[in-house]
């Protein structure tokens, strides 16, 4: 693939990227390819890393970053530098799509990219010249000529045509770039690559599963896409784990087994108590409206309906009565149906390490995300990244458990913040969108200075808000959320998310809108995140920025 040159791996800090990275690392190891790994959390770091390494490296692999901007434009690489881009960010920048020399995109063939046709957005130089110099291409003169009222008309016509073409181009690009969304998980793409090369291992498959589950937990893809991709992975799972099933009793300590499950979508419940998981999973907490007294009541009724003793429900899941656990999923599902929660079970996968340790794919996503965005400062910037990456190896159960604990704290913090936002009416309708701003001094506000955590919070908050409000119009609005980022520098982090509807296509228009609002108000913003819908903003500029955003979207 990449010959014997040393390769620079630039990896974004999301769980899908980490998983793709793990797979690629394993492949590199197989093929004895030397590489250097550099984590990049945003465009600034990406540029710095490139500048630092461009003299030593000719080959750069970008994971979950780089596809949605004109790389050649921002990095200005030498001609003998090549980029391999595996990135789920969509839309892919058109220059990246049509550059077939320096930029190699790794995308799944059946991913529908809807890229505009080449001729609609690029003009070949030849045509360019012809247009500007009125057919100076040295072709034979015309054999007949009409005399026009004014001969200048012809020139203006050409200019007009050109203007029309440019207007059309702008329109096409606007349509194409208007919405941000995500394509197939990079981990899955990378796994596909391994599979094509017949180098796919069970570990790699698990990482692909975690990558996909990350997209689902982070609400980046549609339900449809999730189910489709689960189906694809399920085929791989049965291929890889077939042999083990025959001799199920022969599980040994170091044996890894992946299994498809129709599991409860209750966060971390196997490592928590059922009660705490019910309270801190956005799906259940929003539907019970747990922030209210009635909500708490409903939860009690629900537990009663299942006939589970409160004592059992509140103790560690591991220690629950085996007899109760046997039909637990069915029981919960049945009661959930009565309470209007028709899809409490989802298709997912779990992994067994030996006898003792069993994790569901979403457990890993929560744990790894928390490790990645751990706000307790320890060591250099990259510590979190390395820890998160390590937690994905099955030899590092202690890191994983550490992550699980952090994740529980995070989920609790999210639920408490959601509850307080709703109870104190912090979610305000601004007309075209809902807005919520966390103030400095709010408990746990530090946690939400990190992008993935803030996004999780926003999505949970929006889910809960939609369940709590009676205003039908508000139920259909997207949400903009801001949280303090750096108190000393006086900055906030702001994220925009699409409306919470069942048929949501998960397409996000805030990226472009933020850009325009910032331009029109000269707000001091930093579009550093690989998701364009996450920005940093000077606290003082927030109100004028918001005003511009409102009038832009109205």
């Amino acid at each position: 693939l990449l010959s014997l040159q040393r390769v620079l791996l630039l990896v974004a800090s999301d769980v899908d990227a980490l998983c793709a990275c793990k797979i690629l690392q394993a492949l590199f190891q197989c093929d004895h390819v030397q590489y250097t790994l550099v984590p990049v959390s945003g465009w600034q770091e990406l540029e710095t890393a490139f500048l630092e390494h461009k003299d030593q490296f000719k080959y750069f692999v970008l994971i979950n970053c780089g596809a949605n901007v004109d790389l050649l434009e921002i990095l200005q690489p030498e001609e003998d530098t090549f980029f391999f881009v595996c990135d789920s960010h969509r839309p892919i920048n058109v220059v990246n799509v049509y550059n077939d020399t320096q930029i190699k995109l790794l995308v799944k063939q059946d991913d529908d990219l809807d890229v505009p046709a080449y001729d609609d957005i690029f003009r070949d130089e030849e045509e360019e010249e012809e247009d500007s110099e009125n057919e100076s291409d040295g072709s034979e003169p015309s054999d007949k000529r009409r005399r026009f009222e004014e001969d200048v008309i012809e020139r203006t016509m050409k200019r007009r045509q050109r203007r029309e073409w440019e207007a059309r181009r702008r329109e096409i690009l606007f349509d194409y770039e208007q919405y941000e969304y995500h394509g197939t998980s990079s981990a899955m793409v990378m796994f596909d690559l391994a599979w094509i090369m017949s180098k796919d291992l069970n570990d790699m498959l698990w990482w692909a599963i975690v990558g996909l589950t990350d997209q689902w937990v982070q609400d980046k893809i549609t339900q449809m896409k999730y189910v489709t991709d689960i189906g694809i992975l399920q085929r791989h799972v049965s291929r890889h784990n077939h042999r083990n099933e025959d001799e199920e009793n022969s599980l040994s300590i170091d044996c890894t087994r992946i299994a498809f499950e129709y599991d409860l979508r209750l966060a971390l419940y196997q490592h928590w108590s059922l009660y705490e998981s019910l309270c801190n999973t956005s799906y259940t907490s929003a539907r019970f409206k747990l922030w209210s007294v009635q909500g708490q009541k409903r939860l009690q009724e629900f537990l009663a309906d299942m006939g589970l003793p409160l004592k059992q429900v509140k103790q560690k899941f591991n220690s629950m009565d085996m007899t109760l656990k046997e039909n637990l999923r069915e029981m919960i599902e049945e009661s959930a149906n009565k309470f209007g929660m028709k899809d409490l079970r989802v298709q997912t996968f779990s992994i067994h390490f030996g006898f003792k340790n069993k994790f569901s794919a979403s457990d890993i996503v929560y744990a790894t995300t928390s490790l990645m965005e751990n706000t307790e400062k320890e060591g250099p910037e990259t510590t979190n990244f390395i820890r998160a990456l390590d937690s994905l190896s099955r030899g590092n159960l202690d890191k994983l458990h550490q992550g699980l604990e952090l994740a529980k704290k995070q989920l609790c913090a999210i639920q408490q913040t959601v509850a307080s936002c709703i109870c104190t009416n912090l979610v305000i309708s601004q007309g075209p969108f809902l807005y919520c701003c966390l103030m400095e001094g709010t408990p746990d506000v530090r946690l939400f200075s990190k992008p993935a955590s803030l996004c999780l919070l926003s999505k949970n908050l929006l889910k809960s808000f939609v369940c709590s409000t009676k205003n039908k119009r508000c139920k259909l609005l997207p949400l903009v959320m801001a949280a303090p980022m750096d108190v000393e520098q006086g900055t906030v982090i702001m994220v925009g998310i699409p409306p919470e509807t069942e048929s949501s296509d998960k397409k996000n228009f805030f990226g472009r809108a933020f850009e325009k609002a910032a331009d029109s108000t000269n707000s001091r913003t930093l579009h550093n995140h690989f998701d364009m819908s996450i920005i940093e903003l000077k606290t003082e500029d927030r109100s004028k920025f918001l005003d511009a955003l409102i009038s832009l979207l109205s």
Partner: protein, 512 residues
């Protein structure tokens, strides 16, 4: 009728000549296709604009004249001179619209013969002018449109208007005649038979305004244009002296059109080329070949390229005019079409006697040729292959050695990977020529090693699996003749002290 192509091959070389003939045909067809496309493009311009009404008032709000097509016909056919003028002007305006001029509707009104009558009304200059303009624009359409004008009897009337005392009227007639001539050889010759040329030429004088001269030059170029048949020789003989004057003009458009005219005239049999050579215009053409303007460079190069397809003497005239000094730059030009035409020109010079090949070497054409073969446009590379093929056919052994020394083998062998079997065949043919030369010098083994060192043997071996039978046989022939197994052991590369093969081209030790 392909006789005119035959003379483009001065090589007596068997298959190669036949192949070359087909090649020229193809390129001519391509040129034609391109031209047609160009015309279509021009027409498209007028189709793109929003629907316009037929009333001229809409275009110019300040004019109140509004006539329906019926009213136009009525007025034109009537006897009121004022109404005739008014209606003709309205019709002319309609025909001058940028978008969708109603040419068909105007023709269907049946007023063309009437407009032709107006051309002769010397007492009404304004009406003459409007009619001439209207007819110009009708004739600018399709062949059918042009035919309507010609069948309306416009040719003699327009020719007599050439000598109108009003310059704008004679200029408009020139334009109209240009459109008629541009329709094709039939109407071109109809004009010539009506003796249009002397009156046209009489308009060219030192005091003629540039704009007018441009129109005359363009019309003259249309009179030189088109084959099947070519324009009559005596007509060409009349036009050429004036054309040679016009080509000296400083105005770019006049130069461009006269250059194209000369290129049409040189695109014919050797006696036609001779007429052009005899005017002494070749140095000017070579000078224009070096122009920075693509639009000037292209027809000049085409004309010279045509000349060197002629006899050895005609080719020599082009060489004497300095063509070899200009070609290196054109071979390195960024435009693929220029590269290709330049290489085509060079290929015909390389097809000449060894004295001309020697001049080619002396003027430093080999380095740019090697560059072109190495990284030029593919079509240009194919022409470059022809240069080498012709060179190895007609060149002396010494000249062939010089060619190999210039590093031609490497890019040539690389081109064996081309998809085009004709090109592959010519290269294999050329290689055979090289081996013949090497045999004469007793240096076969060195050439074998050189070919092998440049990965050529591998490529030739691969060609034995080529789907084209001729390619397969040519490759097999070379392998059997020069690379047969038992000799291989004697051909172990001997390495020099620095590890390089001591016959490598870079070190200039290759001397067959």
């Amino acid at each position: 009728k392909h006789r005119q192509h035959m003379r483009k091959f001065k090589n007596k070389g068997k298959d190669a000549a036949a192949l070359r003939m087909q090649r020229v045909e193809v390129s001519i067809e391509l040129r034609k296709a391109k031209k047609d496309e160009q015309i279509l493009k021009r027409r498209n311009i007028s189709l793109d604009v929003k629907e316009g009404s037929l009333s001229p008032g809409q275009d110019r709000p300040d004019e109140v004249i509004q006539l329906s097509l019926e009213e136009i016909a009525e007025a034109v056919n009537g006897n009121n001179p004022k109404l005739q003028l008014l209606a003709t002007r309205v019709a002319r305006r309609l025909l001058s619209k940028q978008k969708d001029p109603p040419i068909n509707q105007i023709i269907e009104l049946g007023i063309i013969p009437r407009m032709v009558e107006f051309l002769s009304g010397a007492d009404n200059a304004a009406l003459q002018f409007e009619a001439a303009w209207a007819l110009t624009n009708i004739a600018s359409g399709t062949s059918e449109h042009t035919r309507a004008v010609v069948e309306g009897g416009a040719i003699p009337a327009l020719i007599s208007l050439l000598s109108s005392p009003h310059m704008h009227i004679s200029e408009q007639s020139v334009w109209a005649l240009g459109n008629i001539a541009g329709d094709g050889p039939v109407y071109r010759d109809a004009l010539i038979n009506c003796d249009a040329i002397p009156s046209l030429l009489a308009l060219v004088s030192p005091v003629t305004p540039v704009g007018f001269l441009r129109n005359i030059t363009w019309t003259l170029s249309n009179l030189c244009r088109n084959k099947n048949p070519y324009p009559p020789l005596d007509a060409v003989e009349k036009i050429l002296p004036v054309l040679v004057c016009l080509i000296q003009h400083e105005d770019k458009d006049i130069i461009i059109d006269s250059c194209w005219a000369v290129s049409y005239l040189t695109d014919g049999s050797n006696d036609r080329i001779q007429l052009v050579v005899d005017t002494g215009v070749l140095p000017r053409l070579v000078e224009l070949m070096a122009s920075t303007h693509l639009m000037v460079m292209t027809p000049a190069l085409r004309a010279i390229g045509n000349v060197v397809t002629g006899t050895d003497q005609q080719t020599q005239a082009a060489i004497d005019a300095g063509v070899l000094a200009v070609l290196p730059r054109l071979l390195r030009h960024t435009k693929p079409t220029i590269q290709k035409e330049a290489a085509w020109t060079l290929s015909n010079i390389a097809a000449g006697p060894c004295q001309q090949i020697q001049q080619l070497i002396t003027c430093g054409l080999l380095p740019p040729l090697v560059e072109l073969l190495d990284k030029g446009d593919f079509k240009a590379q194919k022409e470059g292959v022809w240069v080498v093929a012709n060179f190895t056919t007609g060149g002396t052994v010494d000249q062939v050695v010089e060619l190999v020394r210039s590093g031609v083998l490497k890019p040539l062998l690389n081109l064996l990977s081309a998809k085009d079997s004709k090109t592959i065949l010519i290269i294999l043919d050329t290689l055979s020529n090289l081996f013949v030369a090497a045999e004469k010098l007793g240096e076969t083994e060195k050439l074998c090693l050189l070919v092998e060192e440049l990965d050529g043997l591998e490529k030739i071996e691969d060609l034995q699996n080529h789907e084209n039978n001729m390619v397969y046989r040519a490759a097999l022939n070379i392998i059997e003749k020069y690379f047969s197994g038992e000799e291989n052991s004697d051909l172990e590369p001997q390495t020099g002290q620095d590890g390089l093969y001591d016959f490598s081209v870079e070190k200039q030790d290759f001397n067959f």
